[in-house]
Symmetry: C2
Subunit: 346 residues, 2 copies
């Protein structure tokens, strides 16, 4: 293929105009506004070539042209000039996030919400994997016969609790002993490491351990095993307003899919590798309900390690030049807000 400079310029112009207006762009308008001294007929020739390349398509014979998925892809890869984030937007993001430090859940919520509001699209955030967090404190409480409530707290103050069913019953003093042992042994270590160690120890030495010890470890293993795959979604109803989704059906599927969340997880976890903004345009996500959408996702890092992803979901026709830097900036701000080195806390 190899597009010459003029073709690229026209493609860029066309996509930018389409993003701004939402309607198909025709040759006359393009010839007039492109800045090039060429006629509409010449433009038509070029557009025909671009259509052959699969970068554009015409909804019907006598309409102008709109970008295809491939067209958007080429555009963002080779033609896009991003804009610095508007100062008001930047300030708003920082303020909203800052208000909720240091409550992790609240910060995530605020970041997603502000992103959604500024973009007028659906915002999402992949909640940080707990695996890298440090265990702060554990409690085991006897709830009913053979049911134990396990509560654990990380160094960031995130509290999780799980109900565990036992085969044998334990009284509260036994549980307290187990918790003491557990806190002494594993407090201050990362959850993931604790889980590995538990699994290893239980497998190797099961029979030699005394009862309390074994109880503690079995409880701990059950407690840590499921690292809930959580995603927050915010403002997805804004998609109802977008003209791109004016007609029904597919949007409904999208909303439902987004609500189910489950399938989004693996998509987003792809983005965790690498530290840059990642785009999924249309079918690139490999996920049918998102076929008409683009996903802009940026990983965020806490204390130097990527722990989650934040971004937006919207129509393919979105102002990438604004959205991408905004998502990127929000991810950075979020990472900073969640890191332990807060301004003023050296």
């Amino acid at each position: 293929m190899a597009l010459d400079a003029r073709a690229q310029h026209l493609l860029k112009q066309l996509i930018e105009q389409h993003i701004a207006s939402g309607v198909p762009v025709g040759s006359r308008q393009l010839a007039r506004d492109s800045g090039l001294q060429i006629s509409a007929a010449t433009v038509r020739n070029v557009l025909a070539d671009l259509e052959d390349e699969g970068l554009l398509m015409a909804p019907h014979t006598s309409a102008g042209r709109v970008p295809t998925r491939a067209g958007y892809r080429f555009f963002v890869d080779s033609l896009l000039q991003t804009l610095p984030v508007a100062p008001e937007a930047r300030r708003l993001v920082l303020r909203r996030i800052g208000e909720h430090i240091p409550d992790t859940d609240e910060v995530l919520h605020a970041a997603t919400e502000v992103l959604s509001r500024l973009t007028r699209m659906a915002g999402f955030v992949r909640v940080p994997r707990r695996a890298t967090r440090i265990l702060r404190h554990v409690d085991f409480l006897a709830l009913r016969e053979r049911e134990v409530l396990a509560i654990f707290v990380t160094d960031r103050g995130d509290v999780e609790n799980r109900l565990i069913r036992l085969e044998q019953s334990l009284d509260q003093s036994q549980l307290a002993q187990a918790a003491n042992y557990f806190n002494a042994t594993y407090g201050g270590k990362p959850l993931q490491e604790i889980l590995w160690q538990l699994q290893r120890d239980l497998q190797e030495n099961r029979d030699e351990l005394d009862r309390i010890l074994r109880n503690a470890m079995e409880l701990g293993e059950e407690m840590l095993d499921a690292d809930a795959e959580r995603i927050l979604i915010e403002g997805e109803l804004q998609l109802l307003d977008l003209p791109d989704f004016a007609d029904n059906e597919r949007l409904r599927e999208l909303l439902q899919a987004v609500r189910r969340k489950r399938d989004l997880v693996h998509l987003l976890d792809q983005s965790v590798r690498g530290s840059d903004v990642r785009l999924f345009i249309g079918e690139e996500s490999g996920y049918a309900p998102l076929a008409d959408c683009s996903v802009v996702a940026a990983p965020y890092s806490v204390d130097g390690e990527v722990v989650g992803v934040i971004g937006v979901i919207g129509p393919m026709r979105m102002p990438y030049h604004e959205i991408i830097p905004l998502v990127d900036g929000t991810a950075r701000a979020l990472g900073k807000a969640l890191s332990s080195e807060l301004p003023g806390h050296p």
Copy 2:
């Protein structure tokens, strides 16, 4: 007004047919299907009277008639014959709820979800007020400088945590002492009672209390003060499918309003008084976004005391004869599931 028997019968027939079909009902059809031996012209006379009474309205001159809000109200108050819940539905409700006993949150979730699924409308539940729950256990953890994580557990295993900012900083051993004192003093008492007692004691004796004691009590007060007003909503997107909401705008407002939840709280708390199913038809809710909807809400009781409300939100045109008993039955099942006297646990 005082409608004669024939008028009531025709009104009942008309509303039932309209609920079933969704389209305006005309005089001919009604004369044919009503079972009465009267002509369409006679029916027309009666319908005209009912329209004068404000129970019916005609969307336009040459359409049939549809019930007004007042019409539905009269219908459910005086004409409605409810149907026993279908055995499969009953079984499904019991099974879904039963699967998640004894986890309160999961049970609530399951109950709302099954209600939403069976009715194809939005399900909601007003989460039980914690005020009546018994305090089981408290922990205070020093998180950062002057920030304390307070965790408390009720006798049902519900875990709540709050971040508390202090004016002075406390080290972990002081916090542990405070927690010990708190557990010893207030463990086993209802949260509401504890809060009252704390507030009274702090006011009266503030200056005489020793430091640890005062810390414990101040932490406790902060912790219990806000009884979060929580509502779960499930399946609200199903409303998008209903022909009654086919057109746009108002539905969007509804969905957003439902998401905000806040305003729903006071509406639902009205239903807590009394133990019966309560209906809000159209504007009766006094809440603009619900003007086109009906809300069916049934309070549920745990251990003999009403603690919350469960129900559905849907169009005014809903099969009340099925929905009402279903909501009622689900509320009972929910209450039973959350009560401490479980089958087999005397």
